[in-house]
C-alpha cells in the first residue's frame, strides 16, 4: 500500500487551510489599515475644524454649524472597529492601539463640540457611555443596543462610547473628571450627573427629554 497519496493529500489540505488563514489575515490587515486611514482623516478634520474655529472665533457660527463635527464618521468607525475586534480579538495590540486612537478622537470631538456649542449657542444632545467588555458587565451589550437604536432613531444624537478598561491617560482623566465609578454601564447625559446601570429604551428616553428637540430618522421603523 502506497502512503504517497496520503502525504500528498495532507500537504494539499494543509495548503488549503494555510491559504484560508492567509487570505483572512490579509483582509484583517486591510481592515486595520483602512481604520487607521479613517482615523487619520478624522484627526485631520478635527484639527482643521479646531483651527477654523480658532481663526473665526465666534464670528461665523453659521459656517461651523453647517459643517457639524464628525460624529457621523466616528460612528461608522465604531462599527468597523467592532468587526476588527471580533476577528482579531480584543487583546490584539493593533486593535487596542486603534481603540485608543478612536477614544482620543471621540474625546477631541466631544471637547470641540462643547466649545462650539457654548460659543454658538447650540444645544446638542450627547451621551458619554462607559462600558466594559472584560466580562464584568453583563448589561453592557444590551445598554449598547439601546444606544444604537436611539442613534438610528435620532441621527443627531451624539453617542461617545468608551471602553472603561482601556489604558489611556486621557480617558482616565475624563472618567475622573466626570466622577465615573466602576459601576457599569454608566452614562453621562448632556453633562448631567452620571447615571448607572442598565436602562430600557423607555427609561433612556425619559432620561433624555431633549430627544424631543431632535429630528427623527425617516428610515427608522417605529
Amino acid at each position: 500500500m502506497s502512503w504517497k497519496k496520503y502525504i500528498l493529500t495532507f500537504a494539499i489540505t494543509a495548503t488549503i487551510f494555510g491559504t484560508a488563514f492567509y487570505v483572512a489575515s490579509q483582509i484583517d490587515a486591510q481592515r486595520v489599515a483602512d481604520i487607521r486611514t479613517t482615523e487619520d482623516n478624522i484627526s485631520i478634520d478635527i484639527l482643521s475644524t479646531e483651527t477654523q474655529f480658532e481663526l473665526l472665533g465666534n464670528l461665523d457660527c453659521q459656517e461651523i454649524s453647517d459643517n457639524p463635527v464628525l460624529s457621523e464618521e466616528l460612528n461608522s468607525l465604531a462599527g468597523r472597529l467592532s468587526v476588527a475586534e471580533s476577528n482579531l480579538g480584543d487583546n490584539n495590540t493593533e486593535v487596542i492601539a486603534l481603540k485608543k486612537q478612536y477614544s482620543l478622537l471621540e474625546i477631541k470631538d466631544y471637547l470641540l463640540m462643547k466649545q462650539i456649542s457654548t460659543k454658538c449657542h447650540l444645544k446638542p444632545v450627547y451621551i458619554l457611555y462607559f462600558y466594559s467588555n472584560a466580562g464584568d458587565c453583563p448589561d453592557c451589550s444590551r445598554a449598547g443596543e439601546v444606544l444604537t437604536y436611539l442613534r438610528q432613531q435620532y441621527p443627531d444624537l451624539r453617542v461617545y462610547s468608551f471602553d472603561y478598561n482601556l489604558d489611556l491617560s486621557a480617558l482616565k482623566t475624563l472618567t475622573s473628571l466626570s466622577a465615573i465609578k466602576d459601576e457599569l454601564p454608566a452614562f453621562i447625559i448632556n453633562g448631567r450627573q452620571p447615571v448607572y446601570g442598565f436602562k430600557t429604551l423607555d427609561e433612556m428616553q425619559t432620561l433624555i427629554p431633549e430627544l424631543k428637540t431632535l429630528a427623527t430618522s425617516t428610515s427608522a421603523v417605529k
Partner: protein, 410 residues
C-alpha cells in the same frame, strides 16, 4: 478561538482531506467512457428479487428485469416472497408463465433469509439482487457483465444508483446525494475500497458465497456486512459506472430518517464487529481511509450540528431576551456606509465555502459519470436541507447503537 470552533476546524480538515483524496484518485484514473462493445461471453445470471409487501412496485421491477438486454437462456429471475401479506403474491405469481421467472413463497424471516433462500434455489454463475423497489436500465446487466469480464479478480460489482423520477424537494435532495455517492463509489472502486453492495442490482460471482458464506442478519444491513466481509478476505469489489439502476426513495422525512438510521446504525454495529480492520494497512485504503473517515464523518456530523444548533439557539434566545428586556421594537438592522471590507468573513467562512465548492465539484463529476442531469432546484434542496436532516438520523443511529437496539426496516 474557542475550543468549540477548534473542533469545527478539525472536522473541516478531515472532510477536506477526504474530498481532496478522492479528487486526486479521480485525476489518477478517470472513469472510462461507455462503449458499445458487447461481452465476449455471456455467463449465466440469476437475479434474486426479495420482496415483502411490495405490491405497488414488484411488477415494474420484474418487467424491468424481463426487458434486460441479455440472452434469454442465460438469465433467470428468482422472486422470493418473504411472507408478504398484501397482493404481492398474486402479482408475482402471474409472471411465472414466463419460464425465466421462478417464484417462491416463504415464511417471513428478514431480507437476508430471502437472499440466502434465493442463492440456494438459483443456478447462475453470477448472482444479482434487485430490491423490489428498484428498476434496472435495459443495458445494465450487459454493463455489469462487461465489468466482471474486464478483470477476472473482480468478485462482486455494484451499479450506479439513481433516484427514480425525483419530484419533491426531499426526493431532489436525495437525487443530489445519490449523485455525490456515484462519484465517491467510483473513486472507492479506484482505491479497491468499496464498503457496501447495495440491494439494487449488486452482483456476485457464486464463488463468493462458497468462499465466505452466505448473507448474515448483520444488524439489518446485510449488504454492508457482506462488503466488509469480502474486504476482510481480500476479495475485490468493483463499480460498473455505466450500469444504471433506478430506485424509489423515501417520500417523507420520517421514512427517510428511518431508512438512514438503519444504514447508519448498521455501519456503527458492523464497524464494531470488524473493528480490527480499522487503521490496519493490511486492508489497504478500506482500512486506512474509508472506515476511519466514515466513522469520523458520523461523529463530526453530530458535533457540527450540535455546535451550530447551540450557537443558533443561544443567538436567538439572546436576541429575544434583549428585545424583551430593552423594550426595543422588532426592527431590521440598519446598514450605514456599507463596505465589502467589513462583511464579517474569516478563516472559517473561507473554509466552509471551499468545502461547499469541493462538494459541488464532486456532485458535478458524479453527474458526468452517471449522465445524470440535476436541476438548480435539486442543488438548492440539497445544500439547504441535507445538513438539517442528516444529523437527526446520525443521532438516532448513535443512540440505537449505544443501546444495542435493533433498527427497523419500515
Amino acid at each position: 478561538m474557542d475550543i468549540g470552533s477548534i473542533g469545527i476546524y478539525i472536522c473541516l480538515f478531515l472532510a477536506l482531506y477526504f474530498e481532496v483524496f478522492l479528487l486526486i484518485s479521480f485525476l489518477e484514473k478517470r472513469p472510462d467512457a461507455r462503449s458499445t462493445k458487447r461481452p465476449s461471453r455471456y455467463p449465466s445470471v440469476s437475479i434474486l428479487v426479495p420482496c415483502f409487501n411490495e405490491e405497488r412496485t414488484v411488477a415494474s421491477t420484474i418487467n424491468s428485469l424481463l426487458a434486460l438486454d441479455y440472452p434469454k437462456k442465460k438469465l433467470e429471475i428468482v422472486v422470493i416472497d418473504d411472507g408478504s401479506t398484501d397482493g404481492t403474491r398474486a402479482i408475482a405469481e402471474s409472471f411465472t408463465k414466463n419460464p425465466r421467472v421462478k417464484y417462491f413463497y416463504k415464511k417471513n424471516g428478514g431480507k437476508y433469509t430471502a437472499l440466502n433462500f434465493g442463492i440456494a434455489h438459483s443456478t447462475g454463475d453470477i448472482i444479482g439482487c434487485l430490491d423490489a423497489d428498484s428498476f434496472a436500465a435495459p443495458d445494465a446487466l450487459l454493463e455489469m457483465v462487461k465489468r466482471f469480464e474486464s478483470d477476472p479478480t473482480i468478485m462482486a460489482c455494484t451499479p450506479v444508483m439513481k433516484v427514480y423520477k425525483p419530484r419533491t424537494m426531499l426526493e431532489l435532495m436525495q437525487a443530489v446525494e445519490y449523485t455525490f455517492g456515484i462519484f465517491y463509489k467510483k473513486m472507492f472502486d479506484n482505491l479497491s475500497a468499496l464498503n457496501v453492495l447495495p440491494g439494487p442490482f449488486s452482483m456476485y460471482r457464486r464463488a463468493v458465497f462458497d468462499q465466505i458464506g452466505i448473507f448474515h442478519h448483520a444488524h439489518n444491513t446485510e449488504d454492508m456486512e457482506i462488503a466488509f466481509r469480502m474486504q476482510s478476505y481480500g476479495l475485490k469489489i468493483a463499480n460498473a459506472h455505466t450500469a444504471f439502476v433506478y430506485t424509489t426513495v423515501p417520500k417523507t422525512i420520517r421514512a427517510l430518517i428511518k431508512q438512514r438510521t438503519r444504514w447508519s446504525q448498521g455501519f456503527l454495529q458492523n464497524s464494531r464487529d470488524y473493528y480490527y480492520m480499522y487503521l490496519n494497512p493490511r486492508f489497504g485504503h478500506f482500512g486506512m481511509l474509508v472506515l476511519p473517515i466514515g466513522l469520523t464523518a458520523f461523529f463530526a456530523g453530530i458535533y457540527t450540528a450540535g455546535y451550530s444548533l447551540y450557537h443558533l439557539l443561544s443567538f436567538l434566545i439572546t436576541r429575544a431576551l434583549d428585545l424583551f428586556t430593552t423594550h426595543i421594537p422588532l426592527h431590521l438592522p440598519v446598514v450605514q456606509h456599507f463596505n465589502w471590507l467589513y462583511v464579517n468573513v474569516n478563516t472559517l467562512t473561507f473554509l466552509i465555502f471551499f468545502m461547499i465548492g469541493m462538494t459541488f465539484i464532486a456532485v458535478l463529476l458524479g453527474s458526468r459519470i452517471s449522465e445524470t442531469r440535476l436541476t438548480v432546484k435539486s442543488y438548492i434542496s440539497y445544500f439547504l436541507f441535507f445538513g438539517l436532516i442528516a444529523p437527526l438520523w446520525l443521532v438516532q443511529a448513535a443512540w440505537g447503537a449505544l443501546l444495542a437496539r435493533e433498527s427497523s426496516w419500515r
